[in-house]
């Protein structure tokens, strides 16, 4: 077990492990809702839209995590609102306005960053630095998990109704709009908590891969929720260990491990795996052939 314990003799690795476990679990649990509500692309756009807010926060208030947090939150709200306003008041559809605003927001962020007094690296924003987590970072991650997870559990029933069929849910008295906004809010929160650790692009992997994997293996939503959390947590920690031993960027390793597990499920999942389905079909084919020959013999 030396290979497993050795990395965590370093304090920065222990911090990283904490961060990974928490972010992995929270994002993994949330990923079930993202996948079933089909918010994956929305999440992608949101992730890039946070940049101008982060940039403004750095310019005005400096590089403290709390500042980044509020900057990102405001940017996300503005972009989300802008998408609704543009698609609601003109013939432009939601995906178009989202794509457009996301490109503009990200570019605006880059322009703003060039005015920033301190050295800020865009790569850092995109890919994070989990090995440099400060106490403040860990506190933010911790508090965001404490907000996101209980809310998801508390509102599980109405959320389930909403995801299954929004119009039926509305006819049953579910407040569809507020719930959708809450889900978007939680998405932004968990994105922000991943900002410092794995960066927004890789956070997306953690927000989609775990539930997508479980979705290929199980027909239970509870499994997607809890299983997604556990898979996100274990996958992230495994990625961290891999990155330590292979001396590779940790954020990328985490997502690659999660992605690898997804592809394994895509191929080999007993129920919905592509290969398993193929083998099952062959099996049926042979069975029917055998029966046919047996029939011919008589």
């Amino acid at each position: 077990m030396h290979w497993l314990t050795e990395p965590f003799r370093h304090e920065f690795m222990l911090r990283a492990l904490f961060g990974c476990a928490l972010i992995g679990f929270t994002n993994g649990a949330l990923s079930g809702f993202i996948v079933l509500r089909r918010l994956a692309l929305m999440a992608d756009a949101m992730a890039h839209s946070l940049l101008p807010g982060v940039a403004v926060a750095i310019i005005l208030f400096g590089l403290a995590p709390a500042n980044l947090f509020f900057g990102a939150l405001v940017a996300a709200l503005l972009v989300g609102l802008g998408v609704q306003i543009i698609s609601g008041s003109s013939r432009i559809k939601e995906d178009t306005s989202l794509g457009l605003l996301f490109a503009c927001a990200f570019s605006l962020g880059l322009v703003l960053l060039s005015f920033s007094p301190s050295q800020v690296n865009v790569t850092h924003y995109l890919f994070g630095n989990i090995l440099g987590l400060s106490d403040d970072d860990l506190w933010i991650i911790y508090s965001i998990s404490l907000i996101v997870l209980p809310l998801l559990v508390l509102f599980q029933r109405p959320l389930l109704l909403l995801m299954f069929e929004p119009s039926v849910a509305a006819s049953q008295g579910v407040f569809v709009r507020p719930l959708t906004y809450m889900l978007m809010g939680l998405l932004v929160l968990s994105m922000i908590s991943s900002l410092q650790a794995v960066g927004v692009v890789l956070a997306l992997g953690m927000l989609i891969a775990p539930a997508a994997t479980i979705y290929l293996c199980s027909d239970s939503f509870a499994a997607m929720f809890w299983g997604g959390g556990i898979l996100g947590m274990l996958g992230s920690c495994a990625g961290l260990v891999v990155s330590y031993w292979l001396n590779l960027p940790s954020g990328a390793c985490i997502v690659l491990v999660l992605g690898g597990i997804f592809f394994a499920a895509y191929l080999f999942s007993p129920r919905y795996g592509v290969l398993s389905k193929f083998l099952r079909r062959r099996h049926l084919h042979e069975e029917s052939l055998a029966r046919w020959e047996e029939h011919a013999d008589h």
Partner: protein
Amino acid sequence: MPAHHLEIKNLTVAYRRVPAVHHVTLNLRCGHCIALLGPNGAGKTTFFKALVGLVPKETGEVVFGGHGKVGADTDIAYLPQRSVIDWDFPITVRGMVEMGRYMRIGKWGRFGKADSEAVDVALRTMDLADLARRQISALSGGQQQRAFLARSLAQEAHVFLLDEPFTGLDKTAQDLLAQAIRKLVAAGNLVVASHHDLKSVPELFDQVIFLNGELIAFGDTGETFNDENIADAYRTQVFSKAQLHRNAGVH
């Protein structure tokens, strides 16, 4: 059997400021199975959605059992067309029927024994007990429709609004669904279903509503389901029946 009724008074619904259903007044009594007939774009789905409060009403009101309807309610169940549902959703038949209980027990109420029993009863009534553990995509079209009915039954709905339940079903599945619907009606519920296949109307429904933007006719199938009303309802544009007759007089 309590003579519940669903009263629709002067209902007008607009979709993007274009009126889709005009000044419909109807008094539907529970214990009937009613066909909602009309061409595509006649406003059938809009009509259903307005009844459950999914689209705002321009004018009029909907009253059930003496209470004005302001919006969502568990008394009226709306069952959308099968094609709008994501059948790959990770849920079993039983899980889907359990969802019908959610709004009854509230967000945080415990899913108790009574709820579990209500689900069992709903599954048995719709002949789905054996399929309860299946994922919903592993059901046939007719079974999916019955699973929906079971869900609304578990919700203890009194009024079932079905959007084209028979579309895409073969004869056997259609008969089984019709049987299931008859059970609901016999228990004093009101079933209103939009329907396309005119041939099967007399065997499936005891009352008909002809709708084409406005109410064309409503009554017992024996009297109201006739060629004149069908022709009226399926004319491409009906602004007002009175107007039509005036036009007919001119030509």
